[in-house]
């Protein structure tokens, strides 16, 4: 025992204190090691709880009212045109109409302005039941194999397209950014190459670019549609390169959506940039342009639509939307209603707590309420 190891030093510490004095066993005192760091422990007394609830209610209800008011002040005109723009002789076979190259796709709609719309008036196109967030489409990597096109969707492109096992992505961020990566299309299949040349921009997303066009006029006077600043600045500046030009786009065997002017760099193709920002919901609006003049009450706005985009195969709806904005953005009652609900709930709770507190007061921190004091016979 005498020759015991250092760890037995505890019992005979006094005898060899000289040797062990250098490495003191006593841990250094600090508030952290003793778990004595300062802390604040607010106790949720009835008074505090009622105060907090009241405060939340008092703040939220006006905010909600303001939001609702702002939302109400937004003027919004929505017109669904996908069915009405199909001539009646094609109404039983809309697909044939939209897929035929021979039919006249021009369609004229008339919108009645019910309330004065101050400039800028935003023009949106809205697609319903269009899954831009679908996995194969939206973002990520997926795997492609032998593809057969369903006859009903693409009868004129009826063919087999064999693409060997390759990783695909619906876009190539690198390719969009800079011309150096023009041939970086490995993520893009099945729309990666055309006759062996890389497609710019590649991928399903660009391939299915929305290509309906709108022209607006009031009282036979054409309204200018401004396409300036409809895309995000950061997208234009960083994600889409100014030296990247469309190449081999929509030249393959399959034609998807719209075409691009190959003399304009991608960073200037605002429609494409807007389209490429995938929507999170199956119903979404995308900015088409802006009208920089005020629209007066009872103005009849004539919209000339080039109805090119195929939503008929999957029952999607197409709408054109004219909308003004307020400080909360577009028309959206949800925020206001949410604020009002939460605020109202808080006030209600506050009042009921007050009632309970007045009717049945209970002293705070009374140990007789502890479970083992209430029921000593238990256990």
């Amino acid at each position: 025992m005498k020759g015991g190891s250092a760890s037995s030093g505890g019992t005979d510490a006094p005898s060899n204190s000289s040797s062990s004095s250098s490495r003191t066993k006593k841990p250094k005192y600090s508030k952290f090691t003793q778990q004595e760091l300062p802390a604040c422990k607010p106790i949720l007394t009835p008074g505090y709880v009622i105060m907090i609830f009241t405060a939340v209610g008092v703040i939220f209800i006006p905010v909600g009212l303001f939001s609702l008011f702002a939302s109400e002040s937004v003027v919004e005109i929505v017109d669904r045109y996908d069915i009405d723009c199909v001539p009646s002789n094609y109404s039983s076979n809309m697909l044939a109409y939209i897929q035929s190259t021979a039919t006249n796709k021009t369609c004229t709609r008339s919108l009645n302005i019910t309330k004065e719309m101050k400039s800028p008036v935003f023009i949106y196109y809205q697609l319903d039941n269009f899954y831009q967030n679908h996995r194969r489409y939206a973002q990520s990597v997926c795997f492609s194999y032998t593809i057969y096109f369903e006859e009903s969707t693409c009868d004129h492109r009826h063919r087999n397209l064999k693409i060997a096992f390759r990783y695909v992505k619906s876009r190539s961020d690198k390719q969009l950014r800079s011309s150096k990566y023009e041939s970086d299309t490995k993520d893009c299949a099945p729309e990666a190459t055309s006759k062996g040349f890389p497609i710019v921009p590649c991928g399903l997303t660009a391939w299915s670019l929305f290509n309906d066009t709108y022209g607006f006029s009031v009282k036979n006077k054409a309204l200018e549609v401004s396409k300036k600043n409809i895309a995000w600045k950061s997208d234009k500046g960083h994600k889409f390169g100014s030296d990247v030009y469309p190449k081999n786009f929509q030249t393959g065997e399959l034609i998807g959506g719209g075409k691009l002017n190959s003399s304009i760099p991608l960073s200037e193709q605002d429609d494409l940039i807007v389209w490429m920002r995938t929507a999170a919901l199956p119903s979404f609006r995308k900015l088409y342009g802006k009208i920089e003049v005020d629209l007066q009450v009872n103005d009849q706005v004539t919209v000339v639509i080039q109805n090119n985009y195929n939503t008929y195969s999957f029952g999607g709806k197409k709408k054109v939307v004219l909308s003004t904005t307020s400080w909360i953005g577009g028309k959206n009652d949800f925020l206001g209603i949410a604020y009002l609900t939460v605020g109202g709930l808080c006030l209600f709770l506050a009042i009921s707590f007050i009632l309970v507190y007045v009717a049945k007061p209970r002293p705070l921190g009374d140990p007789t309420y502890l479970s083992w004091n209430r029921n000593p016979a238990g256990n």
Binding site: S8, N133, C142
Partner: protein, 972 residues
Amino acid sequence: MKRYVYINDDEASQDLYCDNRLSNRKYTLLNFLPKNLWEQFSRFMNQYFLLIACLQLWSLITPVNPASTWGPLIFIFAVSASKEAWDDYNRYLSDKKANEKEVWIVKQGIKKHIQAQDICVGNIVWLRENDEVPCDLVLIGTSDPQGVCYVETAALDGETDLKTRVIPAACMGMDFELLHKIKGVIECPGPDKDIRRFDANLRLFPPFIDNDVCPLTIKNTILQSCYLRNTEWACGVAVYTGNETKLGMSRGIPEPKLTAVDAMIDKLTGAIFVFQIVVVLVLGVAGNVWKDTEARKQWYVLYPNEGPWYELLVIPLRFELLCSIMIPISIKVSLDLVKSLYAKFIDWDNEMIDPETGTPSHATNTAISEDLGQVEYILTDKTGTLTENKMIFRRCCISGHFYGNENGDALKDVGLLNAVASGSPDVIRFLTVMAVCNTVIPIQSKTGAILYKAQSQDEEALVHAAAKLHMVFVNKNANIVEIRFNASVLHYEVLEILEFTSDRKRMSVVVRDCQSGKIILLSKGADEAVLPYAHAGNLLIGAISCSIWKFLRPLYFIIPKFTSGQQTRSFIEAVEQYSQLGLRTLCLAWRELREDEYAEWSLMFKEASSTLVDREWRIAEVCQRLEHDLEVLGVTAIEDRLQDGVPETIETLRKAGINFWMLTGDKQNTAVQIALSCNFISPEPKGQLLSIDGKTVDEVCRSLERVLLTMRITTSEPKDVAFVVDGWALEIALKHYRKAFTELAILSRTAICCRVTPSQKAQLVELLKSCDYRTLAIGDGGNDVRMIQQADIGVGISGREGLQAARAADYSIGKFRFLKRLILVHGRYSYNRTAFLSQYSFYKSLLICFIQIFFSFISGVSGTSLFNSLSLMAYNVFYTSIPVLVSVLDKDLSEQTVMQHPQILFYCQAGRLLNPSTFAGWFGRSLFHAIVVFVISIHVYAYEKSEMEEVSMVALSGCIWLQAFVVALETK
């Protein structure tokens, strides 16, 4: 398989057997990586995560970047691998230290100094006093002329008393020189782990002794890791070396202890896993249906008509990956992290430093802190744990006179001092027994003071007391004991030592008084082992065997009236009185022997000590022939003081709903008295003590049933009922009436088990564990080691009986009273924090996962991930890791409050903070929060510009804010 060990013959056995290199290492440099990986992957969670990570490499189905799983996975593996490596390195270092220890061996007749690892089978190893035995040896020579040496086997079997080992008869009487040249062969069995058995033969080659075979037993061996004590030197032949020694063979890696919280987390993980499978199946089917009905019409996604055979699997697997974050990969790492921090808090705690020695508390096992908060049973040792194990001679009763009753210290009793001064013969004889009848070895230190080295603390106390009373045990020279009384020096020649065994419960020495030439037998022992042999009562009582003596003791108050005088009666009274006070009593007795009586007996004793069969029993029998007609001189009372704060600690912990069992090797009376004085049991009207006793199976059965009946009746009353059981009855009860005893164990909140052996202690722990109780065993000595290792939590007191218990334990503390703080503060906080942390981990993962699932409903059930890989990883690693740090320091109630209201521990004990229903609460909360976040983030953007990245960021920040709010609300 037999092995033949050729003594001192290097050629014969050089390469046959392994060398003495110890290796406790799990890994080598080469096999570390594969072996460690294999071990890690044998855990279910890791297999699961690996599967997920592998699936993610298949890019058709992965919703996120594979790095988001591979990164954390590799990190986790690296962390646990480096922890293992560090532990293994430490083992390597300690092995190295043991291996490189220098030992003396004999090679070709020359003594050489070599490293322990180079010992070969057949080498003769020389040991000096206090050396650790480097390998299993067959003893062939000692410094003792009788061929005896003493070893301490505590490291091997946990018993702290010294054991005698003898050299085989064939080597008896060989001198120093001869031993160097000895040649022979030992035929012994192959290595095994039985430390009680060694059946071998020794044959020495000529010219040493005739060619006879000499049988060897375990008595002739000294095993690895024992210590040589009280013997100047010893030498032996190495028979088993390295990892083939008895210790090496029995060394097992103790099973890692799993806490209740861990088990619960595993269960909940399983539940989540099932839930995940269900979600995956439902969404997978829905996804396939949607794909076939809707997605094919969507020309823009270019879905193929026909796919490969696994096409149907793709979407379910995708969802499996999407949902894999439901089981947070970080939970194990963060739990390990905070657990080691809890352990550090225990190490750092200034209030748990032993003020006397400055030893801080230490958590050896860092993984089980929460269990401290869930303890239901505490099994405690008595001596050294509840008491200080500092024996002090307090009172005595010499021939009817009580000394020390007034002031509680006989050494200051004027009556006794006067009696000593006046040379009262009774008192002097009493003191002589105190000073001589022992195995204490005095050591003269340089300053002149005498240090006593004793096997038992009691003997030391007696010798010290005798020295204080001017009867100083000065020196022991071979067999001559030198005593200084006042100014005169007395010599006694020790003729025989009749050793103490736990069966005999007494020890005696036969000495010759060198002044008068008389031969005297001096005895001391437990009252029931001495008083029956007193000559006063021998007519009647002497016939009664000592084992049933104690049951008849009440009768003994009557018997002496017509058999003997006042004296014996006063001794009985003294014993009663002293044990009432919780003092340890010893009766001292003596008898003058006639020369011829001794000579006759001496022959018998010699014969008995050299028998091979049943030697111990034979010796005991022979001893009994001498130990009769004793003249009882008096009774000593030794106090073993309670440690500071023991009663308060026990009371507080009992209030906290923890049941206490005391397991002690001490006798019933002392145990009960200690129990009373430390609030273990309440005194009579409030408490009731039931005892289970009996010698035979039937008696035990009856008494067990009686106790059980009483227990059942009284459970409804708020009464403190405890039962007392002694080792013998316990053994019968455990063997034959295990069921009844188990029921008793469940009913009784308090129990005192006395006279129990180390293995019985472990059995009791096992019994309670089998009833699904969380047990904590606390002890200080080698005899508690097994119990400590067996229990869910082992706490060792780094006390006087050495450090074995503290080393084997999960926690070591300096004093018993720190247990209160360990459980109520550290245990409780750890439990609360872990409960919060684990559920919170699931909550935050589920929150994100639910949002992903909701999103999949509006993205055509195609398995699109709303969040990108980077934000997912940032959410898991960065945003939600700060609360982990906060919760480690969280205190729901102040320490003082908990100490004042220990009942609060009920919550932890019953597992109220982490169980399926609380978990369901967290689950519901995450579902609700997910709905709120999802609905709000979808609707605030309505139709207009509802871009995915924006929505995902809004939802993510919603999640982050919500979970931060939850943390702020939940931590106090």
